[in-house]
Subunit: 338 residues, 2 copies
DNA sequence: GTGAAAGCGCTAACAC
DNA sequence: GTGTTAGCGCTTTCAC
């Protein structure tokens, strides 16, 4: 049978209050009494029941993290650093994978906010702020990660998207490209919108071909980049910007299969968060944009804990910057720099 | 203030029992009463408190998954399929990342079994069965995943390691290799032991060079493969077997940097779970071993739920088999086959 | 320096 | 067909 706090109290010859205060260090207990309590705990093999405790206190010591795709290395790495931060502060992490489905996201938000977690980290796939906002119980601690909304009601930790993409296009133009194509992620995402906007502005500023056909959207899942790439090749692109790591892998892979040589037949710039080893092989033939994933996760963990402790703290926004690694910038060393 | 079940009962003019039975479908309630209850729920915006509920019932509807490295695509993909299975059955997933640290694993097992989860999925990094066993409360539902112990006390879902490695060595011998090296994972892991054993047996059977120096162990984390590879090259290997996906990426990447041509200067066979796109570029120059990650995760999810419902069910063991993809076996199509 | 006891919100006998 | 009520194991106020 389960051993409870009163079993311990009884064996130690003290009250349950004393046992509770002893294990929680929450009021003075004499050394002698402590001794007795710990002895009883050891003897009975007592472990305080976490659900009773969180029921009583209202604190679950658990944070939920809603991600769009856990098998995507970008998010997997973020989860890892979030988990690091949380476990160092005695918190647990519940993860939920939406697979970029708004419906799944709605369901999990409802589930998790119903007393399962103290706070929520969300890389939302929802584009409609009102729809999102309606799901969050008033005052519930939430931090948006990587993706945000125009309405600044919730705290957020993001990465700047404009600058690296703008620079990419300029550099491609500088190399002589005239028809620069872009493969974006899901059109509804804030990250995609910002990147496409930066692309469009740079294309205009650099005097490159402006053509709707040069803008393609993938879903950042497997095999989505191939279709986009085929379309872009039909449009006679001479350079391509890829907005997401997995799609970049596929692009490179596919160009290879088609015997289109990177840096010779076609120029490429890409976000390379997905799998660093892969890009290293090509780092002298393309520009890379490296997002600060670990810092993202760490900052997210920090912010959500802060919010859990002070739910009424003012909205906090942090924008990190990506590293831009021009083609051939470095070889082996860059790996540890990461 | 929080709205509770008695607020609902009061507004609906019924007892809390009726409200409870209505929302849980746990005894007959007349249509009329149901109507009133749901109306009251809607009006008050009532959501049953999950911690009160799990405190009362003892069921958390949550499974914990202890993984050694969440940013490793092999485990990330497994987590994804586990999560799929669980959420389809109304369960949540708590993940904990041990980073291959036995100490971290011990801590999380203790934490999670203390009333946080109904059952535990563990890809353990602990090699000592007694040490592991001591951490699990008697009768607590546990399913071992990917890694197991000689002692068959716990249910397990694993992938066969012997056959693919044995075959790899034979094929390399068949191509004329005489000094076949191997890069294994952490020596203490069951998977590593099985693979090294298979390697040794095949080396003997095929009459290849037997040399302790040809066996190297990495830790499956970043940059571990390079060291092993350097050592193997010093040993004048003419073929290499790599036992883990991330290390395989690094091996290929590093060979490339050193201008050692795959399939010409050196032959390679490897587990390729890590990032499929990467290998596709090399699939015509090396053999690949593809582990059934999704099935692993799915089976794990299924088994742990079964055990949660019937903790005394007999020990269950499942061994899945990897696909062996000989060099140049297929091109683009293989991707969707995956 | 320690104890007694009141609940937290819910479920599930038991009663009618 | 529905209501009453006793706890689940813990924390915490109030009391001494």
């Amino acid at each position: 049978m389960k051993v409870t706090i009163s079993d311990v109290a009884h064996l130690a010859g003290v009250s349950t209050a004393t046992v509770s205060h002893t294990i929680n260090n929450t009021r003075y207990v004499s050394g002698e009494t402590k001794e007795k309590v710990y002895r009883a705990i050891a003897e009975l093999g007592y472990t305080p029941d976490a659900s009773a405790r969180s029921f009583r206190t209202g604190k679950k010591k658990t944070i939920g993290f809603i991600v769009p795709d856990i098998s995507n290395k970008f998010f997997a790495t973020m989860i890892e650093s979030v988990e690091n931060h949380l476990s160092a502060h005695g918190y647990h992490l519940i993860i939920a994978n939406t697979k970029e489905s708004m419906e799944r996201e709605e369901n999990t938000i409802r589930l998790l906010t119903a007393g399962l977690v103290d706070g929520l980290l969300i890389a939302s796939t929802i584009d409609d702020f009102a729809r999102f906002d309606a799901l969050i119980p008033p005052g519930f601690p939430v931090v948006l990660v990587d993706r945000t909304f125009e309405e600044k009601k919730y705290s957020s930790i993001c990465v700047s998207n404009f600058q690296p993409i703008y620079r990419s296009v300029c550099r491609l133009a500088g190399k002589g490209a005239t028809r620069v194509g872009i493969i974006g992620g899901l059109p509804r995402l804030s990250t995609t919108k910002e990147r496409i906007f930066a692309y469009q502005q740079a294309v205009t500023d650099c005097g490159l071909a402006q053509d709707e056909g040069l803008i393609r959207y993938g879903d950042s899942m497997e095999n989505s980049a191939r279709v986009c790439l085929d379309e872009l090749l039909t449009e006679n692109c001479d350079a391509i910007v890829v907005c997401q790591g997995l799609m970049a892998s596929e692009t490179i892979s596919y160009l290879n299969l088609k015997n289109i040589r990177l840096g010779e037949d076609i120029d490429l710039v890409s976000f390379v968060d997905y799998d660093y080893d892969f890009y290293q092989l090509y780092s002298n033939r393309m520009d890379s944009i490296i997002q600060p994933v670990e810092e993202l996760g760490d900052a997210a963990g920090e912010q959500i804990l802060r919010r859990v402790e002070a739910p009424d703290a003012p909205v906090f926004e942090k924008v990190l910057t990506s590293a831009y690694k021009p083609c051939g910038f470095s070889g082996v060393q860059s790996h540890s720099e990461r």
